[in-house]
Point group: C2
Chain length 239, copies 2
DNA sequence: CGCGGGGTTGAGCGAATTCAACGGATGTGG
DNA sequence: CCACATCCGTTGAATTCGCTCAACCCCGCG
């Protein structure tokens, strides 16, 4: 059920038997959502967090002209809004980009397990800081990388994040997003994403078609993106 | 000494006498730094966090060609690297943009006070989530706002953040940054920042000269930026 | 007095956008 | 089963916002 989540935590921390059990028992219920559904509205008081089990969600902020910026993608195993535990309401929306299944974890349960297990408190605090690290790397893409490198960086990141939770098959992984979704992540237009993906394919770096990605040449793709996975905090990177 | 910090915390939470005392006693020492000094190197194991008392620091990530993206600015009262408490090392550098004074808080002291005072744990967890919220708003600027709105949003944010800690004088505040610093925050070139600031001044919105900002027309500046301070979590915004 | 950092301005360029059209796939209702 | 609508992807042409390159200014400072 929440195995993807446990895999994600175990990729960065040691988890005791009791802690694992506490996490399992904190799930109040399971929810299903269709694609393009707002899961967590912005500026609304919240009393639970949403642990994504299957599908892809995102955090997004809208502008008045209808454009929006996606600030992070969430895959199976991620809490989409763990930060609502301390923030009480969110400054952005959380919405589904595909059909999704999620576990609902009441803030009351989070409070209980983080007080009983200080180690879990640290682990979940860490998890929200990891989200922030991902957002920083996206800021680098948005602010300084040309379109090619932006998309390259995004696919490099997703490959690693999906690999951790066992959702890649070698260089292939499912990513059922539209080109417009990718554009809203990386601050581009869908038209330019289309052309840039064509270029990346022609160069033999990356193929993305009908919701499936193929990292053809990982080393060169990473080089284009200047991708360094240290920001994903998988351990052993501190010097 | 750390009054700016206490003011920042009190703008979002209630702080007991004992908690305040615990915070005060967690400071190990005070450090001074010249401008353009790396305070926290990236990818290096850390055992303390840095509470900025005076001056301006930033978080920045460098690219191979020498360009860099500043992902957040820090002012008096901010922890520049509180997230290092859980992350152990950072994916970015923290450096001074001006001369700075800072309080060094050992992670050991943070561990002690957050275990003794669960409320402080929540407050500091919140603080790192607030940093993430600021980074999200910057992502919106970087990805979707044109240069004018980017700079407008930045100055709107800084006015609020400085006001909280008592560092504004009405519509005026000191911001001893260069136009190149602003460019590195907002993903622009110093040349374009220069022209955009000129435009903002000519429109009677904002004047920025020799390290001092004057928000001439706050309402119109906020309107240009589509600035909504809710993301700064000053309370009473949840609906 | 020369030097360097920061600011300012102009000219030309280029990456990405806008606008528009079209194709393929999918779904739906008559 | 076909007509039609919709969504997503694709491509071309024209445009534009911001960049690059370069020159010059001002001012504080050694």
């Amino acid at each position: 059920m929440i195995d993807h989540h446990l895999a994600k935590l175990r990729a960065r921390s040691v988890l005791s038997r009791e802690e694992e059990e506490a996490i399992r028992s904190s799930v109040a219920r399971i929810e299903d959502y269709p694609a393009d559904r707002i899961v967590v509205p912005s500026h609304r008081s919240l009393d639970h967090s949403t642990l994504l089990l299957d599908g892809i969600m995102c955090r997004s902020k809208a502008l008045l002209n209808g454009e929006r910026q996606i600030t992070e993608l969430h895959v199976a195993g991620d809490f989409a809004d763990l930060h609502s535990f301390t923030l009480k309401y969110l400054d952005h929306e959380v919405l589904t980009l595909t059909r999704c299944r999620a576990a609902i974890v009441p803030h009351e349960a989070l409070r209980a397990i983080t007080e009983r297990f200080p180690g879990l408190a640290r682990i979940y605090w860490f998890a929200t800081n990891l989200d922030a690290a991902i957002q920083r790397e996206w800021a680098v893409s948005l602010g300084r990388r040309p379109a090619r490198a932006r998309l390259a960086a995004l696919f490099c990141e997703l490959q690693v994040r999906l690999e951790i939770v066992g959702l890649t098959e070698g260089p292939y992984f499912d990513l059922p997003l539209t080109q417009t979704d990718l554009a809203e992540c990386m601050g581009l237009t869908n038209v330019h994403v289309n052309r840039t993906l064509r270029d990346l394919k022609q160069e033999g770096l990356l193929a993305f078609r009908s919701g499936r990605a193929h990292v053809i040449d990982r080393d060169r793709l990473r080089s284009v993106a200047e991708f360094d996975p240290a920001y994903l905090y998988l351990g052993r990177e501190a010097r």
